[in-house]
């Protein structure tokens, strides 16, 4: 009986200390001389084999650099915004798998960039665009106008068809508070997880114009609940981007900082959420916009360029 009991008790010991197999191993190896060699390795392996699949459900998969690079090359493409200046500056456009933030004061062209990118991405067959509208800024008329300008060489009927195709690839939701946003994002994550994505139905660009109008009302005060909601929204956006190869574009406004100098809203905790942060400025009386990189994963901040917003 004793012979049967011993290996089993060892197996349970290795299960309970499964969290640190190496330290268990090292402890075991110290007294290895007194233990029967074959018995030990057998019970260890059995313990790991039992626990390992369970552990793997609880965390994301381990990847090495080569696998990461493969995933990036295969699944994370650039989505051109259609504005040449921005696309050149960003090395191709908005990157799938990343959260891009556009900051700028009122009427600096943030919404224009969002609408134009939506139209351009929907037009080029990259996939479906989801537009989460928090301040009634989505204007189908404006998109129609943009498409009209783009397809001036087309005949009347072809123009109509093109417009219809672009419009059918843009989905707009109106959202007026952070809870509704979290609802929509969780639902979207669920759908993406459980649906076999095929060709055109895949969402590739998620736009939130503007995220700051949802987040500012809950921030402030002594409590941390506002920041909890903000960080949760940030994490789920990055999760959507990373796991489902979606490019996320959000806009943020500017507030007066120290000395009256304008700075992006939402504070210090938000700063570490977006991958890329762009600032737009707009000269009064012209349609030329300046865009500068405040933060980028691999480009030095401070680079600037200009682009023209049409009519």
């Amino acid at each position: 009986m004793a012979e049967f009991n011993e290996p089993r008790s060892k197996a349970t010991a290795s299960v309970s200390s499964s969290g640190n197999p190496t330290s268990f191993l090292s402890r075991a190896s110290k007294c290895a001389k007194t233990l029967e060699e074959g018995n030990r390795s057998l019970s260890d392996d059995a313990g790991f084999a039992q626990v390992q699949p369970m552990m793997e459900d609880w965390h994301q998969p381990w990847l090495n650099g080569v696998e990461l690079l493969e995933d990036s090359n295969r699944n994370k493409h650039f989505l051109p915004t259609g504005y040449e200046g921005i696309d050149v500056l960003l090395g191709g456009g908005l990157c799938e798998g990343q959260l891009t933030e556009i900051v700028g004061s009122s009427s600096s062209g943030k919404t224009q960039v969002c609408l134009y990118s939506a139209a351009h991405v929907a037009d080029k067959h990259f996939g479906v665009v989801m537009f989460l509208d928090t301040c009634n800024s989505f204007s189908p008329k404006r998109i129609a106008c943009m498409v009209d300008q783009l397809s001036s060489s087309f005949s009347g009927e072809a123009k109509e068809r093109r417009l219809k195709r672009i419009m059918s690839n843009i989905f707009c939701h109106s959202i007026f508070d952070i809870f509704a946003l979290l609802d929509v994002l969780h639902q979207l994550e669920f759908n993406l997880k459980h649906q076999v994505t095929s060709g055109h139905t895949k969402i590739c660009l998620l736009i939130i114009d503007s995220i700051s109008s949802l987040l500012t009302p809950v921030l402030g005060g002594k409590g941390s609940e506002g920041r909890l909601l903000m960080v949760s929204a940030g994490i789920i956006l990055k999760k959507l981007a990373n796991e489902h190869n979606v490019s996320v574009l959000v806009t943020n406004h500017m507030v007066g900082g120290e000395g009256g100098i304008l700075k992006p809203a939402l504070g210090e905790s938000w700063k570490s959420i977006p991958h890329v942060r762009l600032q737009l400025t707009h000269d009064q009386g012209s349609n030329i916009c300046n865009v500068s990189i405040l933060k980028h994963t691999f480009m030095a901040s401070g680079r600037t360029t200009k682009f023209v917003i049409h009519g």
């Binding site: 499964s18 969290g19 640190n20 197999p21 190496t22 330290s23 191993l25 090292s26 790991f48 390992q52 552990m55 793997e56 609880w58 965390h59 994301q60 998969p61 381990w62 990847l63 090495n64 650099g65 080569v66 990461l68 690079l69 995933d71 990036s72 990343q98 402030g220 941390s224 609940e225 920041r227 909890l228 903000m230 960080v231 949760s232 994490i235 990055k238 999760k239 990373n242 007066g256 120290e258 000395g259 009256g260 504070g267 210090e268 905790s269 700063k271 570490s272 991958h275 405040l294 933060k295 994963t297 691999f298 030095a300 901040s301 401070g302 680079r303």
Partner: protein, 344 residues
């Protein structure tokens, strides 16, 4: 060992053996701002600073230094040829940046090796940048071997982070058996990523009070415990970034809003305010378990100054200051593709 304990106790090592041991424990690492203090395995370095202040860049440059070999086909790369384990809690890691830095380092090494070769042969003019580039990019073998030494995991919550730390030992053992090299860096970017979520998390006590609740303190304690276990068995240096999450004048701002003293009084107080801001900027928020675990602390800050660099256009500059151990030196540095450079 058991046969001759006396010999083991008295046996002095040779200078070569000692150098080999010291170099594994304390490899030479010229990477501003980490070059100021002697770092050895078992240390836990915290790199704190607002976003952006080149925190992640420092991690990536250190990672590339670690995964590069010392020498490859007769060309010196000066790396450590060890593994890096990277816990991405911010979920902002960009593999393209890592490969960009790595390719750059490989190219630099080839270039310097080749230029001496060409100089020796008196054919320096023939040296052509594009030729070198082509040559290096063909060398996929070295590049892939390096990239395989970079182990990465993404965590979306403290729970996933803890699970990953638990699973780390087994994964590490498997990888080091496969690759034949050990781990040198454990990187965490960034440690405070789930602060707001864990802080607000107050679950109901389940089934009496025997079970530990998920709270900020408990999570930090568990994280420290897991890393400690690793440090006991492996010669590892821990590098963790920490983003400042309390902006300059988080509380000050509210006060200003309330009293509406925007322009007039602000200018007068600007000196004291900026000092207060600096203090606020570095308000410690991690639980004490983590704070006491950290052995070295450096603070980074982005500067408004931009230096011009012929090859790369303009570069933003940063300062660094060691807080633990306290050093009275402020280093100014800039990050380029081929490394981090001090500005004097």
């Amino acid at each position: 060992m058991e046969e001759n304990p006396r010999g083991w106790i008295h046996g002095d090592e040779t200078a070569k053996a000692m150098l080999a041991r010291v170099l594994t424990e304390r490899p030479f690492l010229f990477l501003p701002p980490l070059h100021r203090v002697p770092l050895r395995v078992g240390n836990v370095v915290e790199i704190a600073g607002p976003s952006p202040s080149a925190k992640s860049q420092i991690l990536l440059h250190a990672a590339v230094h670690c995964i590069l070999p010392e020498e490859w086909k007769g060309i010196r790369f000066g790396g450590l040829e060890r593994m890096v384990m990277y816990f991405d809690l911010d979920c902002r890691f960009d593999v393209l940046r890592l490969s960009q830095i790595l390719k750059h380092r490989i190219m630099e090494a080839y270039k310097s090796a080749n230029s001496t070769y060409w100089e020796d042969n008196g054919e320096y003019q023939k040296y052509d940048a594009t030729e070198i580039t082509q040559m290096c990019f063909c060398d996929d073998e070295l590049f892939l071997a390096c990239m395989r030494r970079f182990l990465y995991i993404r965590c979306y919550s403290s729970f996933e982070f803890l699970a990953a730390l638990k699973a780390m030992h087994f994964h590490l053992q498997r990888e080091s058996e496969a690759l034949g090299v050990g781990l040198h860096f454990l990187m965490i970017d960034s440690i405070g990523a789930f602060y707001w979520i864990d802080r607000a998390c107050q679950p109901m006590p389940i089934g009496g009070s025997k079970r530990k609740n998920l709270s900020l303190q408990n999570v930090a304690e568990a994280v420290v415990q897991e890393i400690c276990k690793l440090l006991q068995t492996q010669p590892v240096l821990v590098l963790a970034t920490k983003a400042t999450i309390f902006g300059a004048g988080t509380s000050g701002n509210d006060a200003q809003r309330a009293f509406g003293k925007w322009c007039s009084e602000r200018k007068m107080d600007s000196r004291t305010l900026s000092k207060e801001g600096e203090k606020l900027l570095y308000r410690e928020y991690m639980p004490s378990a983590w704070q006491s675990f950290v052995t070295h602390r450096v603070r980074l800050q982005a500067l408004d100054e931009i230096i011009s660099d012929g090859q790369y256009g303009t570069l933003p500059t940063y300062t660094s200051q060691w807080v633990q151990p306290p050093l009275n030196i402020k280093d100014k540095f800039a990050v380029r593709d081929d490394g981090i450079f001090l500005i004097t």
